[in-house]
Point group: D3
Chain length 327, copies 6
């Protein structure tokens, strides 16, 4: 089936207003301050040999995330690299985790360091106990802690992701002035959130077919995927819970982060994406505050986007911006 | 999947004109007069004990419907109630019947009498022999007798439903001045038809996600459910049968009944309903002649509507209108 | 589609051996003792009026469950009943909760008290924070805490269900010698577990199309439903996690509870059930220790089982066993 | 998907015993005698010109069927043919009718006359009012009149089909000694029934992927199609209605007709047929009483069977048996 | 499901501009000239007897198509017809071939000759070796040779179809002044192409639910069928291949042929066609250059269009235009 | 859905006999000899820089395959490696090609050279013109050239794959005594074929969830995937083409290659694989001639098998056999 969203012209002009919580900035400043109060100590274990690798050096990293809880990550870099390396921080798509280091060999092969950040609860190595009563009324993470922004799952996950950028400064051999954040789908939404929350700490952001943007339209027009968890939830609670639900989600909406982000940005979108409808991606893109922003359009793509074509395209865009590693 | 109909604003303004048969009123006056000519004798058998019930009294009722044929119903009421009780007359959704009395315990628990009316042919206890040659070209009831309004299935079913209200007057202990008609889906369409045909005999009508409204748009835009029987039928007969088919169905269209109904009305609608698209529900609602009319909107609901939340909402709306039983 | 399991003859003889954890009894004794150590104080609030009910009295109950945490329940009984009433304790199917009291009107209409027990995390009113790290690798409850029997979700849920029977003794007007446990699907598995763990505290058990029986075959042969969460989980972890997973689930397997349960039992099974394959139901039934056990066979039913026919059948079976309320 | 029934060796040996109603022969003798008592008058109207045809002569035929009711048929024959022609009587698959004569041009092109018999209620031109109360609890014809063999739909339809063979004797230019009955799916089951009921009145029978054979196994093992109507019906009525339902259907089961049929027979079967599982076809074939019987096996076919390859194969088999028309 | 395209009014006004290749006419003149240079020798073998037919005469024809390669066809005509007969040239729908002559008996029964043209590669009897490297990146024919108009599959297929009309002149007993081209779906697109390329060589064209019209909108809005092969292909190649792909397809687009065709034309369209969306059919129809053009609208039809009603409708339209065979 | 094949015990004993073509060895000797007669010249182009890679060296290789036609491959190796490297030759799953070098970074990261071989026609870079007439009757490659083993697609593809091993000897820096062949699904079947055809030229073979094994059972029992192309083909041709089709496929059946292969082998199987049913994998495995053979069983896996867990498992198995690269 071919889902048909707005035409490309309409998408390029699509810039809907979204209610912004009055205390949005205060909420995030407080949240991040609390997390940072737990300190910056990072644990690193070299695991190259046990994975049988030769050309890359692999570290199993635990950095302090939300509430100071240890968040797992893989750090991969070209073996024997000496100078401070530019770093790509990669966030993961919905319901995956950091997986195995052998599944993340692209950026190190290209001469970058890469920090692959686990998603709490979704991956195997970073638990998420939950806040409040920890209950989720509908399967999945979109409604976990939906009763308040304080308790919502994505408050914790985004905090972890910001703290991953903080952790870069604690890891030897990395260049904190060249930190790129990226990811696909949920990972793209997370990268955008981090760009909006960390100011000039990130030098580029590359959200690929990003999720977590304009939840209201995502719920209304997606045909599949996790925006539908919100639909399922509101189907049972719709009269009393609709506004409070979206008010909670506003704190995690990519539009609100995009308005605050200024790093050079490379988005991508699949014009037949049933999971992250094009309008939701453009809604964030058209609000993006930075001037150097570009959209890679995959006209007939579904949520797979550019598939294998995307990493080389991202690499090329980065190199054009002078991020080449000196090896 | 998320079917997306018109936006809520557009729905609230959606008031399409529908061709009304010239002899609409005459057709129904004649139809009802013929049915009433068969007399009003109602048969009642007490069955409380055989269903093992204690707090409610249950009667197995047979009242004369179309052509005087006996239509089955359950009458439930609080055991030991003495004064004349307000009555809720419940009609059933497509392809169900009155079922068992144990499946209808809400209104009697709330102190009302409830008359649950079987649907001829669809349930177990009320046969429908059919009129004309009795043939249906496509499975289902929507095209049974589609060759003329005289022979169409819903002529007989709606007549039964009107006669159920007549029967209330024959049943001891009920208050004929407080008769509420309701039902979900087909049952909602039937309640609306009864409200349009009985004038001040009903004191309130509560059509829940009603079917049988604006057949032309229902056939064009529903994604599932019995409007599709019309599509299937017209797929094989479309050139010669399209206009006659819709002309027959106009006699049973909720829009035409809504224009004639004046009792206080509580509709409901699921904004993602693929079976009874929101526009078809609003088409009837926006033509409703009574001034006291309200719509319960379930924003993310499919054809399930408000599910378990609906009966309490209906009860609350009734109580607000002073229909409380005095027990 | 028609899923075809073993023939009826084969099912009636199907009695597979299941590994039983050596410390099964010790595990449950300890678990229940710990829960009971939190005391028996039950909170009761009368809510009849706010639900607009007349013939039944409704209490909103909170009783202490696992870890002493408050578990929500509805207590319904015929209004004005005086003598101690027999009680039906109802557990709920997968991913539902106690819902609204207006959805549970059968047993009180039949003169019984009914205690409808919420399922922690699955319903709205009883949170489940989780144990261990609270993480679930796969959506759903089957793998929540799958790392150990201590942490598994069903340890907590079954404890709540046993404590519901304990709570009956704290509630005035109920007859602790006539406590019937029942439920459909997951609720049936829970009723069976309670029967196996409480000895003569329950006077009858009625597991309807029960889930939670013979997880190994459930995972291997079900075509849909929550046994598939185990499949999904083991798909990603199959080599290292298969045995530990089933060893954890053995602590919650209906077969092991059936071997310990002696109250009169009425099971039901749908011979075309794709969710709880007939063989899994018979596996528990054929191990059931009590002599008075019967199976209601619905030959062509899927997981809907006997639908509306089941409650009257259960009532009739209970009345045959002399459980009639004296009203 | 590939439905896998028994292996071919097992199928060839599959000869299950089916309960045969004691009064089976008496039932059908009485049924046919009653129908024949209405007389043999056939109405014929030449319609060749209005269909714009040149090489074939087309008659619109109405012959007396069950209860003497007029059954529609097309009679096609080569234009200008003089001698008495062998006739192929064709019955139609489930939920179709005789359609247009332009859809039945094969047998006349091959030099035969063909009588294409409408199916009452299923086609456009032959109504079926129903017997008893005319109600069908489940959509479709399999349960229409399921309460008794007297009232069941297929009693009337099979009677029509036998009467079609009777009508051949009333139509000029046809050779009543060379009457072949055939059809696909339901049409195949009907041809088999006619062969079993008319003795030497038919000179050959060609049931193509026949339906209406061994209803018990059809309901248990089919994955799609009208045997599933029985499943759907018994899902709601299974305990009280199972045996009576199959006892009614035994009167219309191809196995019982096959035991009585002796004309040369050419069956066909698709070994991956999800609608008419191979075992149901072999069940009838292996009971067939005639010695000259053959099975065309389409090893990988679904219910489409041999598709366009089948008519030439049937023609060739007929010609081998000396049925060639002399033109 | 009911796919909803534009409303009928909008469709009737829908006349989108399509880029037309500058060398469109030159490309086709060259292509056809090269094919015709291979000569006109047609091979004919009488096969009436081996198919057992009596009223029609059947020839197995091989005529020179693209590159002079032999293209298979069936020629059917009324047996014994003497005068020059009007001819219907039939092209076949996607992924079918000429099949068996016994599947094409309508036009000869109506007194016409019919030439049923095999589709190279798609049927059994006419191979297609391919051009260029012969590779197709996506299953199916839409992207076979998509690298250039020279190599594209439909260049060869359309050439065959034009040469079929040329071959009519070589076949005795046919009237080259009364050549009608027709077909459904792909066959309709081919008929339209032939009408556009052969000028007054065809006396009428009847494209039934035609495919191959407005590929850009077909890819964007179809929900099923072979336009989706283009989507699948562009999903993997979308950035570099989108424009070149549609530029190649412009050479085979029905809109461009419609602009050049002048013979009387009878189109048909199903307003709920998910395979050939109504807008694509109207896009060609509204550009059709001939003045005598009509559209048969099947309002509720999917891609089945008018089914069995279509051939009689076409015959009637032809007879109105004086094409009656004199027999 | 959970497809259930034989139990694990039965699978381990499943060793069906398959007809072996009399000239099987002669056919392949001749085929390979013809291909080798075209010479061994390999073209190599360094492309590391244009892909932006640093730690690996990438060559775009074209080696002579079937008929001497150039077959594309990527050669990846650790940058700066000097000694002769062990090589992993990777074949690709159905309907994919070599893709981009950035998608194949595992083996070089582990210190091996890897030669990733394109599949003719299926990928982008190696065309397949076809043999005979080049026609395929059913979409897909399984029936391309099905008329004879000479013309079948897999004759050419397997020849390419053998020639890839030959090419290793032409590439500097590789160790021809340590050549491992591997691949998933179709790639696994190809690796097995190469192991059977090249004797001691390969030092290990690792077929992962292999396809192309026991086509007869694959067609009969698979639920999805390319074995179904055979079903689709035989559905239309089943009577005349069944035996010839399987006789052609016997030349490409993994069972026949397994009987001839002796290198250490690591198979894998998913016990719930609907595409390559477990029995087809065990059929080849249980015939495997080499003594050092192992099966990695993924008990609940579908065709995804061990996913990301598989490459590390393969690496570990190789290192256990002393294949470690000396870097």
């Amino acid at each position: 089936m071919t889902p048909t969203d707005l035409g490309l012209d309409e998408l390029q002009a699509y810039r809907p207003e979204l209610p912004e919580p009055q205390d949005f900035d205060e909420f995030w400043q407080r949240t991040l301050a609390e997390a940072r109060a737990h300190g910056d100590a990072v644990k690193v274990e070299r695991v190259t040999a046990q994975w049988g690798l030769h050309t890359v050096e692999v570290d199993d990293v635990r950095f302090p995330g939300w509430n100071g809880e240890p968040v797992a990550a893989w750090l991969l870099r070209p073996r024997g690299a000496t100078g401070p390396l530019p770093v790509v921080v990669t966030y993961i798509g919905y319901c995956g985790g950091r997986g195995r280091p052998t599944e993340h060999l692209f950026w190190s092969a290209a001469g970058f360091a890469e920090l692959v950040v686990d998603s709490r609860g979704q991956g195997r190595d970073t638990p998420d106990r939950g806040e409040g009563d920890g209950t989720q009324w509908v399967e999945g993470f979109m409604t976990k802690g939906i009763d308040s922004p304080e308790n919502h799952y994505h408050r914790r996950l985004i905090t972890d992701c910001v703290r991953a950028v903080d952790a870069v400064g604690q890891l030897p051999g990395l260049d904190p002035d060249r930190v790129v954040v990226t990811g696909g789908s949920q990972g793209g939404g997370l990268a955008l959130a981090v760009a909006g929350l960390t100011g000039d700490k990130v030098s580029a952001v590359m959200p690929d077919v990003p999720f977590l943007c304009h939840f209201r339209e995502g719920a209304r027009t997606s045909l599949d995927g996790p925006y539908q968890e919100i639909v399922k939830y509101l189907r049972w609670h719709s009269q009393d819970r609709m506004e409070p639900t979206f008010e909670t989600l506003d704190y995690f909406d990519g539009i609100n982060f995009a308005k605050r982000a200024t790093a050079p940005a490379l988005f991508s979108v699949g014009l037949m994406d049933p999971v992250c409808p094009p309008r939701t991606v453009y809604a964030a893109f058209n609000h993006y505050a930075g001037e150097d922003r570009a959209m890679t359009v995959w006209p007939f793509a579904d949520h797979g986007g550019g598939c294998g074509a995307n990493p080389p395209a991202q690499l090329s865009w980065l190199l054009d911006r002078g991020s080449a590693p000196e090896l």
